[in-house]
Structures are given as structure tokens and as C-alpha cells.
């Protein structure tokens, strides 16, 4: 594996919208059994929010922590499967909103729930190659779940943003290695002009989520010479509370290393933002020198895994902006009717 020479996270930010709907409320509407709900509650975007506005919110927090002029950002990549525009990049709107235009490259990435870590791969590579001084990678989604479908319990809204630079002295964490594991596995998809995705029930587990994450992580550890002892935190894509814990178990990772970044029970599955918000949550508490294993999963299917080492800069920069907990704790509960309105589920 070709080593990453110089790519550090210089600023990071997570954003979770204010509104929450409890799984029990969704179960009440659809007459579902309340004894085995996949999450407690999930985050719902407001009427005036979408993937782009949430991406901007997260980016602004990341910029605040990075302490750099936005004009120095040479690339804005947004990973999402809920673009407000089918044709027209979300990246341009975000770049304009934060003041990174016009000397910037902007694009959107789509790979279901791993689009965010994919954007991070490309930004890391552009910075490492010396093509740009700073780059902004975002994972953001207003995830769709068909009314009454199992997905509706978890499909949530959120965004995470990372500014990548070269100088370790200004970094909060260093990206030491990443790898990808991708196959053509159709576990979940949404075809053109369809409003909601299809999924293949339990097939989304073993041959999709677990197979790809486990192999991605194993390859990363083997190729780059890491062992499980090198890892202090493990963050996985979080479609529900159970899957990341099972993935950790399959890999032989202590559950106590996985729980600190596990937030899906309170905010739901934020799709392209899911594993990255887990990373934000861990950066909010990690100590310099600790290593974080990050492994996303995107249906279709693939997993990107990263080894990230926390740097000294974390202590100061963490306090420059609100931690993720502030957003998780800030909540207004809504019922299914308001939720249906917010998520535009009522079509005349």
C-alpha cells in the first residue's frame, strides 16, 4: 500500500438538526411491534433544511476549528445520496456559502452511505499530492425511507465536515492510512426517478455490511502493518445500534472501543454522515497519540477504512466550536404528522 505522507485533519465539525421523532411514534403509526426497534429516535431536518444547508452548517464549524481563511480551500467534495439537485453539484453551493469560490474544484460523490468517506479519500489524496493546500470533505444526507418500511425507523438527517491540510502542527489528527473494499453487491438501491430506496432485508447484513467492513478493515490492518492493539477507538457505519457492535465482535475489537463513537441510537442513520459523525464524536473526546479506526459502509457495496492518529492540536481546537453532543442534546420532539410534513411525505 502506498503510504500517505502528509494529510492531517485541521478542522472538523458535525451538525445534527434539532427535530427528533421517536421510533415508538413511527411504530404506533404503522402498528409495528415496539419491543425490537433499531434505534431510540432519529434526527429530522427542519422545513428549511436540506443536505446542502446541513453541509454548510458542518463546514462552518470545521472552518472555525481549522482557523483558516475559506479562500484557501482548493476543493469541496460532498458525499451524499440526497442531493437537492439531480443535476448541479451540492459542492458549488457549499463552496459559495462558505466563501471558497472561485479558485476551487467542487464535486459530489455518490456511493450510498460511504459517499462521505469517499469524498474524504479524494480530498486526502489531493492534499497529499500537493495539488491543493486545504480541502473540504463532507458527508451529508437527508436519508429517505419509504413510509411504513423498516428503513423509516432509522433514515435520518445530519452532516459531518473535515478540512484536510498538510501541516501536522496545525492538525487535530493525522490520516495515516486508508483502503477500500468494493464489489458489485446490490443490497440497497434507488433507481432514477424513484423517491425511496429498495433494500433486501437480511441480505444487507452478512454479504453486504459485514463482509465489506470486515474485509476492508482486515486489509487495512494487514497491508499497513497495524494490529488491533494499535487501535484505541473503532468507528463503523451505523445503520442501527446492533450492526457496528457485531462488526466489532467479528473483528475481535473490544466493544468498549466501539461504544464511544456509537450515536445512531439517538440520531438514527445519517447515511453518508453516519460513520463520519461517529468520528466527530470520538474526536470530541480522544487524547493526543490515540489511534482511531474508521470504517464506513456504502450499499452497492463497499467499505472505506481509515487509520487516524490524534495530534496535540486536538486539545485547543476541540474547544473552538460546539461539540457534537451539543447538537445531540438540543432537540425538539415532533409527531408523525409534523415529521411527514418536514420530510415531504405528503404528496398532493
Amino acid at each position: 500500500m502506498v503510504r500517505i505522507n502528509s494529510a492531517v485533519i485541521v478542522g472538523y465539525g458535525g451538525y445534527v438538526p434539532r427535530y427528533r421523532i421517536k421510533s415508538e411514534e413511527i411504530a404506533r403509526i404503522w402498528g409495528r411491534d415496539k419491543s425490537e426497534l433499531p434505534v431510540e429516535e432519529k434526527a429530522v431536518a427542519g422545513l428549511d433544511e436540506d443536505t446542502v444547508t446541513m453541509a454548510v452548517e458542518a463546514a462552518k464549524i470545521a472552518i472555525k476549528r481549522a482557523g483558516i481563511p475559506p479562500s484557501k480551500i482548493g476543493a469541496v467534495h460532498v458525499g451524499t445520496e440526497s442531493k437537492p439537485y439531480a443535476v448541479k453539484p451540492s459542492g458549488t453551493i457549499v463552496a459559495e456559502a462558505i466563501g471558497a469560490v472561485p479558485s476551487v474544484t467542487a464535486a459530489d460523490f455518490e456511493f450510498a452511505c460511504k459517499a462521505g468517506t469517499e469524498a474524504l479519500q479524494f480530498i486526502t489524496s489531493l492534499v497529499d499530492a500537493g495539488r491543493i493546500e486545504y480541502g473540504l470533505a463532507i458527508g451529508a444526507d437527508t436519508a429517505q425511507g419509504r413510509p411504513g418500511d423498516a428503513l423509516e425507523f432509522t433514515a435520518a438527517c445530519g452532516a459531518a465536515a473535515f478540512i484536510i491540510g498538510r501541516d501536522k502542527n496545525e492538525g487535530v489528527a493525522e490520516i495515516e492510512a486508508w483502503t477500500s473494499y468494493v464489489t458489485d453487491t446490490p443490497d440497497f438501491w434507488r433507481r432514477e426517478y424513484e423517491r425511496y430506496p429498495h433494500h433486501t432485508a437480511r441480505f444487507t447484513g452478512d454479504p453486504a455490511y459485514f463482509h465489506h467492513i470486515v474485509n476492508s478493515v482486515k486489509n487495512l490492518l494487514e497491508n499497513d502493518g497495524y494490529t488491533l492493539n494499535d487501535i484505541d477507538y473503532a468507528v463503523f457505519h451505523q445503520p442501527n445500534v446492533r450492526f457496528p457492535l457485531v462488526a466489532a465482535k467479528l473483528l475481535g475489537i473490544d466493544l468498549e472501543k466501539t461504544k464511544p463513537g456509537l450515536i445512531t441510537g439517538y440520531i438514527g442513520n445519517t447515511y453518508a454522515a453516519s460513520s463520519l459523525l461517529g468520528l466527530v464524536k470520538v474526536l470530541d473526546q480522544a487524547k493526543p497519540g490515540q489511534r482511531i479506526l474508521l470504517a464506513s459502509f456504502g450499499s452497492g457495496a463497499g467499505s472505506d477504512s481509515y487509520i487516524i492518529r490524534v495530534l496535540e492540536g486536538i486539545e485547543v481546537k476541540r474547544s473552538l466550536a460546539p461539540t457534537l453532543d451539543k447538537f445531540i442534546e438540543r432537540k425538539t420532539y415532533i409527531d408523525y404528522a409534523i415529521y411527514a410534513r418536514h420530510r415531504k411525505k405528503i404528496l398532493m
Binding site: D33, S35, E36, R202, F203
Partner: protein, 383 residues
């Protein structure tokens, strides 16, 4: 009429086999059975499958399997009788040997349910019922079972906790079974606290989506003598009934089971008390209970007492579903009957491992299509 012998069995583990196709599963089971019998050629092949034309859009399984096995040229035919399809294939193969037209027949049961979404599988399972006016109203196999269940509890004044012991027994028996889908124990509370599939039927009283294939090599007496492999004698009988249980005189009585069982016992010159292992078709807990009564192994309204008294356990008077039954070994639809018969064969040839029931000389498998609209009774006898 020639006698029929089982000379070899082949089983695939029942699971959600994401990495294996329908062809792969039935070929693997077939090769295992041929290896077990120690032969490489047969005179004909019969394949039983319920769902493959719907879920895989694959019919023509006879010629397909012959091709996969490199046996193209011999007669090979698919046989269908809903979830009793595998037994229908055994029946057809056995009749061919009895008639003297074949020396050795390969019989395979296969279904791969994980290729369908849950709702597709539920709809496909209703192909064994009358679509015109039962499927049409939105009834499912489980909702029909739920009605029978309610009626049973009401008529005989029996609580669900008595009937829900059946899945607990099945899971207990599956623990040491390598080919079982769910080889672990469960508690009665787990069954009673599981969500309703269709009230009062709970999830742990039903079966799950499963993939699997099982195969038998059937031979005539002359061939059996030449083969140096453990064998059992096979006697199979069949019967049918109205597709819809609520058109019958009494929904709590399955006459097809009674008829098929009596015919098989009579041909084998056996009495019910000679049967020391019973394989019931427990697609739901209540079906097992009504089957026990309909086939004369329990009094009407009292089958649950056998469960309560432990008589159906491995060391009981009538060990039942000794490899876990449909509930815990798994229920890959049309393949299931072939698993049942193969398991009886393993018992009677003393290859049942930790679940071996030593005292048994005869075993009976009941295989049902729909809610006992088709019933096969297969007796295996130690030789």
C-alpha cells in the same frame, strides 16, 4: 413389486446461502448422496421444488440437474406438490423402482427462499392455497394457521403456553445438528414474547426464510445387495384433501394425514406403537399438534400433553423431530420432506451422532403440502 431402499443421503446446511445458487445447492446435495451410496450413475432423477419457478423464475429442474451432474441423457423430471414437493419426488422415484422400471433413482428436494424479499416469499408460499378466493382476500399461510390455532385453543380450552412448547423441543433437538439452520436452545418465554405474525401465532412458532437441498439415492433390492453402504427400506403413501381447511368438515382434523399414515402403516404391516421416531411437518407449532392428533399418535385435543410429559423428547416414548424439525433444522419449502426422510435414514443407520435414538427400528415422516392438502407418509425400516 420390488422393495425400495434408501442407499445414500446428501444434505446441505440450511441457511441463507447468499453465495450459492439454486443449481449449486441441488448439485452439492446430489453429489453427497451419490458419494454416500457409492454409485455414480442412476436411471432417472426426480427433483422436488415449490418456489423455484416463482423466486428464481427457474423451472425445468430435472434436465438442469442432470446437466449439472453430467448425466444428461437420462430421464429427469421436476415434481411439484407445494411444500410437499420433495416428498412427491420421493413418491415418484419410489413408484418407478416398485414398478421395476428403474434400479436406481436420484431424488432431490431444493428451494432457495433467500432470493426473494420477505413479501415475495410470503406470496409465493400461498401458491399452495386456492388463489382464486383465498389468496385473493389477502390471506397468508400463517393467517390460515392462526385461525386454526384460535379454534384449537377455544375448542379444547388449551393455553398457548402448552402448544408453544413444540418449538422449544425442536430447538433442543437441533443443538447437535450440523445441517440445522438454528442449532441453539430457546426458552418458552422467548416463544411467548416473540411478536405476533398473525395473532395468536408468534414468530418463534413459525419458520424462517431458508435455503437448502437434500438428496436421496433410492435403489431396488437387487442393487441394494450389491452396495456396501448402510440402507433402509422405504414405504411411501400419499393422500390429498381440499386446499382450504375451512372447506373441510372440521378444520382441526387433517384427513389426508390420517389416510396417508394409515395406508403406509398397513403396507408396512406395522402398528402405530411400532413407530419409534416421528418427523412432523411443523411449519407452525399448531400444525404439529393437529398432525399428531390426525395421524392417531395422540387423542384429539390432547397432543400437547405428550409435549408436557416429555414423550416427544429424544429419550421419550415417541422421539419427534430428532434433528430439530422445520422450526430449528429449517424449512426450505419443497426441500424439507427430503431432509425429513434423510434424517430418518441417518437415525436408522445409526449415524445420528449425539441425537441417536437407539431403540428405533421404524420411523415415520409426515410431509405436508399447504395446510395438509397433500400429505405424504414415509416409513423407513431398519434392514
Amino acid at each position: 413389486m420390488s422393495k425400495v431402499y434408501v442407499a445414500g443421503v446428501g444434505l446441505t446446511k440450511i441457511d441463507e446461502h447468499w453465495w450459492m445458487s439454486l443449481e449449486y445447492l441441488m448439485t452439492e446435495a446430489s453429489l453427497k448422496a451419490l458419494d454416500d451410496a457409492g454409485i455414480s450413475r442412476v436411471d432417472s432423477i426426480y427433483v422436488g421444488s415449490m418456489l423455484s419457478p416463482i423466486l428464481q423464475e427457474q423451472g425445468h429442474l430435472g434436465a438442469l440437474l442432470a446437466e449439472e451432474l453430467g448425466l444428461s441423457g437420462i430421464p429427469a423430471i421436476g415434481v411439484e406438490a407445494a411444500s410437499a414437493s420433495g416428498a412427491a419426488a420421493v413418491y415418484t422415484g419410489a413408484r418407478e423402482i416398485e414398478s421395476g422400471r428403474a434400479n436406481a433413482v436420484l431424488v432431490v428436494g431444493v428451494d432457495k427462499m433467500s432470493d426473494g424479499m420477505a413479501e415475495e416469499v410470503t406470496a409465493a408460499m400461498m401458491s399452495g392455497e386456492r388463489q382464486e378466493y383465498v389468496g385473493f382476500i389477502g390471506a397468508t399461510f400463517y393467517s390460515i394457521n392462526a385461525l386454526i390455532y384460535s379454534l384449537y385453543m377455544d375448542r379444547y380450552n388449551v393455553g398457548q403456553e402448552k402448544i408453544a412448547l413444540f418449538p422449544v423441543l425442536c430447538h433442543e433437538h437441533a443443538v447437535n445438528v450440523p445441517h440445522a439452520q438454528y442449532p441453539f436452545k430457546i426458552k418458552l418465554e422467548t416463544v411467548l414474547n416473540s411478536p405476533y405474525i398473525s395473532e395468536p401465532l408468534r414468530r418463534f412458532e413459525t419458520t424462517a426464510i431458508a435455503d437448502g437441498a437434500a438428496a436421496l439415492v433410492l435403489v431396488n433390492e437387487e442393487t441394494a445387495k450389491k452396495l456396501d453402504t448402510p440402507k433402509t427400506e422405504l414405504i411411501i403413501e400419499a393422500s390429498t384433501d381440499y386446499l382450504t381447511p375451512f372447506q373441510r368438515e372440521d378444520p382441526l382434523w387433517f384427513p389426508a394425514i390420517q389416510l396417508a399414515t394409515s395406508k403406509a402403516l398397513s403396507r408396512a404391516k406395522l402398528e402405530r406403537q411400532d413407530i419409534k421416531i416421528l418427523e412432523l411437518y411443523d411449519a407452525t407449532s399448531i400444525m404439529a399438534i393437529v398432525s399428531l392428533e390426525s395421524s392417531g399418535f395422540a387423542e384429539r385435543g390432547k397432543a400437547w400433553q405428550l409435549l408436557e410429559r416429555g414423550e416427544l423428547g429424544l429419550s421419550g416414548a415417541l422421539p419427534c423431530n430428532t434433528f430439530g424439525g422445520l422450526k430449528a433444522r429449517g424449512h426450505p419449502a419443497g426441500a424439507t420432506p427430503v431432509y425429513q426422510i434423510a434424517e430418518l435414514h441417518l437415525q436408522l443407520t445409526h449415524r445420528a451422532g449425539k441425537n441417536q435414538v437407539d431403540s428405533a427400528k421404524n420411523g415415520l415422516a409426515q410431509s405436508l403440502g399447504g395446510v395438509a392438502s397433500t400429505a405424504f407418509a414415509t416409513i423407513l425400516r431398519e434392514v
